[in-house]
Symmetry: C2
Subunit: 324 residues, 2 copies
């Protein structure tokens, strides 16, 4: 079960392993957002995204026999790196199924962290099937990217930290904006805040054309995206919310927010100039929503989770050239 | 007097005001450095550099009458922003004397933070004289960028945090590399570590052609730079070490390290790729020394202070294009 106590248990196992990332802010960003805005900089987490938390939580929850046999993951890159790093630290072999159009830096880093990478075509092949087949044939334990209780618990530790850090800053009620793919991080944070600060409402943030969670919440049932490729926000292009995550999102989240690619690039340039952090487009979605879609927010304060920074230098330079 | 107890007193005043910046690392950087390498990310401090600490320490140490009258600072940009932000928070007017060739972002930010900016020519005018004249005519209190006991105490809080954070990671003996201009931060950290962890040795890091501290330490007396302009590392181009800072550096520091501009740009690109932080050239000097001049280090572990991230987007894009 995905529960607050599972998140606290994951936090205990992550103690001293995951970084407690800072909650950053800038008066210049407050001006643009029209309210106090805080940014939870998970791009500074090990492997450059929050995914290390879920990876560590999942690996540390396996039996010794499972760890000896190895794990398998499928991912556009950030979950891949999180699992690869957590597996290496647990002396566990890792096989990662990645889309062939994932940013080269994510593929390279996953290999460099010691994992075996298997590439597939995002448009024509089903990564779930490929993953299941590999798990079966090699006796690997599949660690899904979001629809997994331990992964959700690990990502939920971000929510525990947000509650603590906001309290120390005197912040109570807030919209907590989260870049949302399959909803593992969003669900984990929502569960953590339900327990630790119910005055905070989680708001999923997605790119145009890939707003499956926003539409699913609005319609009251799981909706799929028409496309699976074609956005710069590669980290959060999942076909639909998960069977485990969606009921949690439905019970706890406010309406989703949808951003454009230019919103994401503009937010990347502002994070560069004002916070001195590196964000990838998908990792900048929540910040973009807070900065440019504040009319959709209801609380006096916004907290945006900046989920990852694994971006190719050429794309980052493009964001700076266009909006820096 | 610049003492450990003054640093602890500054830390008390900075509590909840300055950010406790994270100590970051990456296995990819460890490989390049040839040893465990930790990076104290002061680019994530308020205003994008450690200078906010010294600014806050100095402003909070003034009398109410002095604060009402206002403060004056001269700076290439980071001290300017640190003082401007700290002064605004103390409801104190601030006049900042800045070189006309400072990065535009630093001039703009200083104004946007509410300070009055007075520009001067770095090659032909003496900023100390301009500052002294302004202080006299307007009754302002001059807050020097480094040769000031309260400023040194404020910067020294970086050293307290390094000692604590390294202890929690199990790190004892280390070379602590610090980007060094006039030596305020370097002296403050050296004093803090003398008290909190004498197994750590501070090593000043400077750009080629502006290695006044390195030469001063080698020669046993204060040496000046021939030039005052002409390096990308604008944040650390001071003519010579300070009268207060040099005796501290001489008593406590190991030999200085000198880096090239390309070293700095390469370190910026690696900090982008591996740590997801934005560094300016002068703020990357210590990281560059740790990565590319490790043969000059003596301890098993290196800690580099990444001092600032206030860099124009075009220059950052150049670093990524060349070395990203």
């Amino acid at each position: 079960m995905s529960t607050l106590s599972a998140i606290h248990a994951a936090a205990d196992r992550l103690q001293g392993k995951a970084r407690r990332t800072p909650l950053l802010s800038s008066p210049f960003l407050d001006d643009i957002a029209g309210r106090p805005l805080f940014v939870k900089a998970e791009c500074l987490q090990h492997t450059g995204s929050f995914k290390f938390r879920g990876g560590w939580a999942a690996l540390s929850a396996l039996t010794p026999a499972q760890r000896a046999q190895g794990v398998l993951a499928y991912s556009s890159g950030n979950h891949a790196q999180g699992i690869a790093a957590a597996a290496a630290a647990h002396d566990t072999p890792a096989v990662i199924v990645m889309p062939s159009d994932a940013p080269q830096i994510k593929i390279n880093n996953t290999r460099a962290l010691g994992a075996e990478v298997v590439l597939y075509d995002r448009g024509s092949e089903d990564r779930d099937q490929i993953g299941a087949d590999l798990a079966m044939s090699r006796g690997l334990t599949l660690v899904k990217p979001f629809d997994d209780h331990e992964v959700i618990a690990g990502q939920g530790t971000v929510g525990l930290e947000i509650a603590e850090q906001a309290r120390s800053l005197g912040v109570d009620a807030a919209d907590v904006l989260v870049c949302c793919g399959g909803g593992g991080l969003t669900a984990g944070i929502a569960l953590a805040l339900e327990g630790e600060n119910p005055a905070m409402v989680v708001r999923p943030c997605e790119p145009e054309g890939f707003d499956d969670v926003t539409r699913s919440l609005a319609n009251g049932h799981i909706c799929r995206n028409d496309k699976t490729t074609g956005s710069l926000c590669d980290a959060i292009l999942t076909p639909q919310p998960g069977d485990i995550t969606f009921p949690i999102l439905q019970r706890l989240c406010g309406p989703g927010l949808v951003i454009s690619e230019d919103d994401a690039l503009r937010a990347m340039a502002l994070a560069f100039n004002r916070l001195k952090i590196v964000l990838e487009p998908g990792g900048a979605a929540a910040l973009a929503a807070a900065l440019f879609h504040g009319d959709a927010l209801t609380a006096p304060t916004a907290i945006a989770v900046a989920t990852g920074g694994n971006v190719d230098p050429a794309l980052f330079a493009k964001a700076l050239d266009k909006f820096g």
